[in-house]
């Protein structure tokens, strides 16, 4: 059974795929390479412009739920005082206590990038059992630093 997921935007940090629009093919429950042109596709699922990423991320958000939206509507002053301009990588938005979802894509990119940094650093580590814990401590701290710097750059320099 061959399934095609059509038109999704893929984030795969392990392979350096960063927001590329590409189809995904699944055969018998496993992701496979693009099959030859004449293959019979049993099912095509249109995921146009939807974000695709590896699972294992539990998304439980209160982005657009009824309650937080009521909160936003109740404090227009919070949004008037804290508006955020649109830029190349983000939409405009507003709110400090009850922010909008305009930074969501950035948060997503940061989440995926954050886990990439220690992976890359750890590829360079020693096999020695003595040095390994020290190296682990160091790369963990470095990844937090890189992550924080990235976040700061995104918020303050990309307006």
């Amino acid at each position: 059974m061959l399934t095609r997921l059509k038109g999704g935007i893929i984030f795969d940090p392990a392979r350096g795929v960063n927001g590329k629009k590409k189809d995904i093919y699944i055969r018998d429950g496993k992701i496979v390479r693009k099959p030859p042109a004449q293959s019979k596709i049993d099912s095509t699922i249109d995921i146009n412009n939807k974000i695709v990423m590896a699972g294992g991320i539990d998304i439980n958000t209160h982005i657009g739920g009824g309650k937080i939206n009521i909160a936003r509507m109740l404090v227009p002053e919070d949004h008037i005082e804290n508006t955020d301009n649109s830029a190349k990588i983000k939409r405009s938005g507003s709110g400090y206590f009850t922010p909008t979802s305009h930074l969501l894509l950035i948060a997503l990119v940061i989440v995926t990038q954050k886990w990439d940094t220690p992976v890359v650093l750890n590829r360079l580590c020693y096999r020695s059992t003595l040095v390994r814990p020290i190296w682990k401590w160091l790369t963990h701290r470095l990844s937090i630093l890189v992550h924080t710097a990235y976040w700061v750059m995104m918020i303050f320099f990309c307006r």
Binding site: I70, P76, S92
Partner: protein, 424 residues
Amino acid sequence: MSTKNQTHLYKDLACPFCSLHCDDLEVRNSAGKLIVEKNACSIATSQYEKPGILSTPMIFGEKTTLDKALAKAASILKNSNQPLFTGSASDVNGCRSLMALADKSGAIVDHLHGDSMVSNLRILQNKGWITTTLTEIKNRADLLIFIGTDASSRYPRFFERLVWDQPSLAGLKKNKRHITYIGDDLDIEQGKNPNGNKPTLIKPNRESINETLSILRALLKGTKIEENLIDSQTLTRLRKLVDLIRAANYGVLIWDPAEFSSTDGELSVQIISDLLRELNQKQRFAGLSLGGSDGGTTFNSVCTWQSGFPLRVNFSEKRPVHDMFAYSTKNLLNRAHVDSLLWLNNFDTSLSVPRTKIPRIMISRATRKISENIDVYIPIATPGLEHKGNLMRMDGVLSLPLRKLRESEHLSAAHILDKLRELA
């Protein structure tokens, strides 16, 4: 799954055609023709059974390709200093795509029902209110007071689904429910209890509904009412209503901002909001606002979680600017503050694009006759009939999933708006 040449009966469907979104409909697809079989009201039946028209994009009434229509629409938006997006009647994904396009094009966003929704929103922002959900009403309400509306005219199954339906929790017996209407020109037929009890009707005589409500508030506070202030029959009925209110376990005040006058509507909502606050000091009372059909509740929600503000928002300064009065469609068109208009309408084809001389882009459910004065027309598929989607219910607490019942050659609103955004 192709449904083109088969007959298939779909059950437990959520209906997109009013903000009650009844979810027990049964509709049959008979070779592409939809036939309602169970649980649909007159509005739903007429909308579901409309033939699926195959229409093509048009430029000034001349048939054209989708690519050309999109290119023309994109150029209108690019050359426009202040676009206005209105109608905005679509499902969640359609609204999301519209907001993304508005952010990019620097447009003002409003909704078809903006004028009435603003009455509510102003009060919510300035005073707050206490509201309830449809399920709470169904399970708990023993006194329902309809203010300025009868609910059944615009929401035909309101009473069938929420009032006289068998409650499922809290053990409320439906013969214990009292129904009262306050207002003029109301159809009180559905308010009749199946056990025979008639609803109470308080019809303001010379007074406006605001005066009647204010006197009710004063009576509840124990204020002395002068004899000549109000018609004596109305006063007697109001005193009886005070007794009913005091005896209620869980009372609900129900209104529809679209049915208040455009000038005094906000005041009516304010009085209701104050009444609710006062009543809740000693007992339990909550409000329910009707309205929000044609994706009104949906659009308001999407606009709020993405821009931070409910209707109406302007993106021309690259950030959301909120002004409920300046950015009304009527005001903007009358004062020529906008130089292009994009009309989005997924549902009711009897509605027409506002009349104006500025360039108009019409992205709408397929209709046969398109005026040659419309610059660009692009037909779209209907959510809940021709593609999946979601719509938020009138009480704003949940969204109903919509299903695809038949194939269509047209794309969804979200698809078209996303393509337009890539070009604009």
